[in-house]
Amino acid sequence: MGKNGSGKSTFSKVLAGHPDYEVTGGSVVFKGESLLDMEPEERSLAGLFMSFQSPVEIPGVNNIDFLNMAYNARRRKLGLPELGPIEFYAYLFPKLELVNMKSDFLNRNVNEGFSGGERKRNEILQLAVLGAELAILDEIDSGLDIDALQDVAKAVNGMLTPKNAVLMITHYLRLLEFIKPTFIHIMENGRIVKTGDISIAKTLEKEGYKAISAT
């Protein structure tokens, strides 16, 4: 958590390897390897997933083709044979239910004309299809109505295992009531200034960031 402009999204984009940012110092180690030495696609294949705060529209690219491409990239990395469209659909279908998406979503172009909620569900669908050891969900709750929020939370909870981690960026306690966090970190000016449990979020909700800075 943290105020607007405190660097939360920047931090997650840097981790994902966004070309807008250049890392001038420090190091990032992920599963024993230097993340900064990897290309963005290698980071993804290594098990890092970032959901975009505002996912870009890609006209002309079918959602299912996109998912298939991404999934096959994973399979290649693991030395497994790629899945054709029909086999892939069989794999994909149960995941759709998980995020409560209709199958006609798949034949639309990636994010094109999607509502805010649909885009977020689509990001979670990608996470469900690809899997990740570390998933960074950037404001996955923004723009969601309460039903969609519950669907998304249910999907994320369903994906949690002892072997993976989820890092969520949020401004609101509500999401944290659905997905129970182990820790809450507060970021200010690009640094973690406070770490604690859910009680921090409760204080924030009541008193705002002033309460945190004062302590």
Partner: protein
């Protein structure tokens, strides 16, 4: 100024034949105006004269056409071969035709194969080989009563009032004759099709231009003309797919006249030809008329893809949307777009949009775009935009962030750029065919560039 020059053409009830004549005159006028040396206009261009003579000699006599031919010949006297000094050809080099030995094709080809018309679809189809209709290879059963498709001096598609033709009519133009590399021989064919749809009628026209199988590198010149007259409240869906030899010249005219409340929708995908030029003229002749133009040009070799479109709105509540996209994927490839939309004085409450987007994928790849809107009416909604770029970084990153490698991502994005237009082809079999053709062309360039 030029707007008023257009007006008489709309007001006077003129026959179609006369209109073509008029158009040519108009064209020649603009040539002589825009070429600076005054002497040039009064002298005939020997090349044009020689070409006209050759073409005239190749024609079989026709009483009904003689008058038209005479007047056309006359207009050629003051027409010079277009040069790059002429505005309409500023970016289009026609010297490839100019320096070839042009040979009119005088008889229908002996085809030892049948061009692959999609058998499963059973669409009414007409095969036009080197400009000649081959009835033996065509299939025109399945047409509703009163609908006529046939050929005498030119090919005619006639749809009577109120008749909605369910299946699109597939015109397959095959270029059979072709010169070899180095021979300088350029056989020319001049197919001509006239489509009339009377009040309330509906039809789909698919024009597909190909080489005879195995002739993909032959030298020839296809010089087709399509005229469409759309009656009141009628609708024409026009697909135009050009995938001719990369050594050919393809010069196409499409002239459309739309009466009140009619609809014309064009989807074009042009990938073939060394020199490919589409001259598209659409004129709205009544209120509440809709025009939708979607075009995609692809240059994967040393080739020029050129669209010169002109859309004239003269009446209230006209609607027009134009989307032009092109990809140049070769360092010697070129694309040209000159899109003119004229919204004249009486065309109030017009809603006209134009967007052109170009993707340049290689160093030195060239595109020349000239979107131009001329608006005289004062109560209109008009927009236009032009963008020339490489691929969007944010879109590329979205792929990378999901583990997809750069090359696959680029391929998908480049293809998707054209897919926006290809998806608008109304017939799924045509869509699939074009999709795989474009994918094939693009993947060959990707292989080439990685070497």
């Amino acid at each position: 100024m030029s707007a008023s020059a257009i007006t008489p053409q709309i007001r006077t009830p003129i026959t179609v034949k006369a209109k073509i004549k008029h158009k040519q005159k108009q064209k020649s006028m603009s040539f002589s105006l825009s070429t600076t040396p005054i002497t040039q206009a009064s002298f005939s261009d020997p090349f044009v004269l020689q070409l006209a003579e050759t073409l005239e000699d190749s024609l079989s006599p026709s009483v009904s056409l003689q008058k038209l031919r005479d007047s056309s010949s006359e207009s050629l006297l003051s027409t010079s071969w277009p040069s790059r000094k002429d505005e309409p050809f500023r970016f289009t080099d026609t010297s490839f035709i100019r320096h070839s030995q042009i040979i009119p094709i005088i008889k229908p080809p002996q085809l030892d194969y049948s061009p692959s018309i999609n058998e499963d679809t059973l669409l009414p189809n007409l095969v036009i080989a080197d400009g000649f209709v081959l009835n033996s290879m065509s299939n025109l059963s399945n047409l509703p009563d009163g609908v006529y498709v046939g050929a005498h001096d030119m090919t005619v598609v006639y749809v009577p009032a109120g008749v909605k033709v369910e299946n699109p009519i597939h015109l397959k133009y095959v270029s059979v004759e072709g010169g070899e590399e180095g021979s300088k021989k350029l056989p020319v064919s001049n197919p001509r099709v006239f489509v009339v749809v009377e009040e309330g009628g509906e039809v789909g026209i698919i024009e597909e231009f190909v080489s005879k199988e195995g002739n993909d590198d032959k030298y020839y010149w296809a010089n087709p003309v399509l005229e469409v007259v759309i009656g009141k409240g009628a609708k024409v869906r026009h697909s135009y797919v050009q995938s001719q030899s990369l050594n050919s010249a393809h010069i196409k005219w499409t002239a459309v006249r739309q009466e009140a409340a009619s609809t014309y929708e064009l989807v074009e995908v042009s990938t073939g030809g060394k020199l490919s030029r589409h001259n598209l003229h659409v004129q709205q002749l009544g209120p509440d008329t809709a025009t939708e133009l979607s075009t995609f040009h692809l240059s994967v070799g040393d080739q020029t893809q050129d669209l010169h479109s002109r859309l004239i709105l003269d009446h209230p509540r006209g609607h027009s949307q134009q989307l032009h996209k092109c990809i140049v994927a070769h360092s010697q490839g070129q694309a040209v777009f000159d899109g003119n939309v004229k919204v004249n004085r009486y065309a109030q409450q017009t809603d006209a949009g134009q967007l052109t987007r170009s993707l340049l994928l290689e160093p030195r790849a060239t595109v020349n775009v000239k979107p131009n809107l001329q608006i005289i009416a004062d109560d209109v909604k008009c927009s236009h935009g032009a963008a020339i770029s490489d691929l969007e970084e944010t879109q590329l990153f979205y792929f990378l962030a999901r583990g997809i490698d750069l090359e696959t991502a680029r391929k998908a994005l480049v293809f998707s750029f054209g897919a926006e237009v290809i998806e608008r082809l109304p017939n799924s079999f045509m869509q699939k065919q074009v999709e795989s053709h474009v994918k094939g062309l693009l993947s060959s360039t990707f292989k080439g560039s990685s070497n």
